[in-house]
């Protein structure tokens, strides 16, 4: 996490809390910690993976980056400029550079707006070009997003497209301003498995041809491995492990990372493949508040230490760091045999 001079985006100690109101079933209100003191820095042109289960705060992180949400603590900078509390015109200028693809393509397009209007919207709001220029750019960007011939799509409404096509429209709209940073929030999780390869290819194209930096949010370790240069694993709003994608996946260090790898579908002749077994099937009683965020589910936790002391970041190898008291003990697992496939 050094080399601040070439980082494009930096999150420093960013936290986000949601206040929930009590209702008929849940008495009183409470505070949900969606993100807790998150530090991240992105390098220009990389695809950075944010991996975790649902509810772990991935979407919140993405929404903070595009400033749909304001952090409660900490600072976000883009190219060294503080954007934590931007408003008005400044925010609009910022969003020319930072765009987002949302998780659910069935929900993220206005049902009453044609594809042409939807994709042209960022151009219109930012007063780019005249109608003819805009149309040309819309056609070009639809083509980039794999919707060709683009002329066939611009006259349609979202409900006339399949989920995969809709998501590609959403990507087209996010890249029409050629942003330098793109947040892709689980862009394939609502789609058929067979569409993901297309979406991955388009995202790679966006990085390679436009030089955009991409935050790729996913719950799939395999997808993160395929697409990302570096990844961060997030659990209940806390980052727990971070490093180059290959390193984190081949020799995971945090017990939660290991659990995610264990949970990846396996098939073929996988009888001998070892599992890490770091995830408790039933949670143990909570420890003190200050303890390790993974304590309740961690099979390796030591009662006294882990329930009471928040771990420190430890360097595991090279750039791989891990938030665990026992980080150094993380080891490489032998590669599975040929006939066994892990993925999905």
């Amino acid at each position: 996490m050094s080399q601040s001079h070439k980082d494009i985006l930096k999150l420093e100690g960013v936290s986000k809390f949601y206040r929930t109101r009590g209702n008929r079933y849940r008495r009183g209100g409470g505070t949900v910690v969606a993100l807790s003191r998150v530090n991240l820095s992105l390098r220009p042109g990389e695809i950075f993976g944010l991996v975790g289960e649902s509810g772990s705060g991935k979407t919140t992180a993405g929404r903070l980056v595009v400033r749909l949400e304001e952090p409660d603590e900490g600072r976000i900078t883009l190219d060294g400029v503080d954007i934590t509390h931007l408003k008005g015109g400044g925010l609009r200028d910022y969003r020319r550079k930072v765009q987002m693809v949302f998780q659910d393509p069935y929900q993220s397009l206005n049902p009453q707006m044609t594809i042409a209007d939807a994709v042209a919207e960022p151009l219109i709001t930012n007063k780019v070009g005249d109608p003819a220029d805009r149309l040309e750019r819309v056609l070009g960007v639809l083509d980039t997003a794999g919707l060709s011939p683009a002329e066939d799509f611009i006259y349609r409404f979202p409900h006339q497209l399949s989920g995969g096509q809709r998501q590609r429209v959403a990507i087209a709209r996010a890249i029409v301003l050629e942003p330098s940073l793109l947040v892709a929030d689980e862009p394939t999780s609502m789609l058929d498995a067979s569409y993901s390869a297309q979406i991955f290819e388009i995202l790679q194209g966006v990085r390679d041809q436009m030089g955009a930096t991409i935050i790729f949010i996913t719950h799939s370790m395999a997808a993160a491995r395929y697409l990302c240069d570096r990844i961060a694993v997030i659990y209940h709003g806390h980052l727990v492990e971070q490093g180059p994608a290959e390193a984190v996946i081949n020799s995971p260090s945090h017990p939660y990372t290991k659990a995610l790898i264990d949970a990846t579908p396996k098939f073929g002749r996988c009888e001998g493949v070892p599992t890490y077994g770091t995830y408790l099937p039933a949670p143990r009683p909570a420890g003190e508040q200050a303890g390790c965020p993974f304590f309740q589910r961690c099979a390796l936790a030591e009662r006294l230490l882990c329930s009471a002391t928040y771990p420190e970041w430890r360097q595991v190898a090279g750039e791989q760091v891990c938030l665990c008291h026992f980080a150094a003990e993380g080891g490489q697992s032998p590669p599975p045999p040929e006939e066994c496939r892990l993925g999905g």
Binding site: M100, F102, P111, E151, P158
Partner: protein, 311 residues
Amino acid sequence: MSVQQATLQSLKAGRRALWRQRLAENWRVFRGNLLGKIGLSLLVMFGLMAGLSYIPPLIDPMYHPMTGVDPLVVKSTGPSLTHWLGTDFMGRDILSQLLAGARVAFMVGVSAAFMSVVLGTAVGMTAGYLGKTTDTLLMRLADMIMVLPTLLVVLMLAALFGQLSIWMIVLMIALFRWPGVSRVIRAQTLSLKQRPFIDAARVAGASHTRIIFRHIMPNVLPLAFLYMTFRVTSAIVIEAGLAFLGFGDPGTVSWGMMLQWVWKTGHMFTAPYWLLPPGICISLITLSFYMLGRAMDEVLDPRLRDETQAG
């Protein structure tokens, strides 16, 4: 450049074709709905009546619904060759009055409904989108107006200010009937505001004005339109009630007015040819707008046109 212009042209043409296709699709769903077909046929009939209402006075001034008196008739008479539905107590032609009444019903119904729906939609969208204090204030106001019994209040106003003109009545109905619409539109706006496509628009740089007019409004308009058909019904009924109770515009011939004349001149039980036509017309026109509304409900039902999820 000309290539670009050509593409732009074709974009416009494509967009027109798209809307045509959409209309055709809606029409197809509508046609499949029996209630809708009945309602629409009835409305076409009333529309024809309203259109035809201009003809009798042209044939002979004695067919003027308000001022035309048949000099040969001195009391209410039943149907005859010169007066197909008979005449009223002073010799005016009932059929001409009935036709003129259709015109007034449409005018009152549609304009009052239009105004109340425009007002209700504007208030509902503002309250829903801005939220907080604005929302609270507007909705409290709506509640206050909603609990007022419209007919009674308009009656009191009429008693206070003397006879009201038909446009005043339309305005009153509009002013008293928007809260229901605004509640529905507000609820819809609230739920739309939470939808991810609004977030997507914000990320695309859309201003609040753009979000309201380009994203929220097109999604509430179908609902507003639906409410309009129901509001027409209530406006017609209120006007008829007012007129029947003697607080209508004395310068217009509405069906309610006709009923009032029947009543006031004591022909309630003696002249069915005079009593029944306006009574039946009021019931039928309200019924037909209601049926139209129900059919629209189906046409606009998102479940029938919208997406299914992956998987």
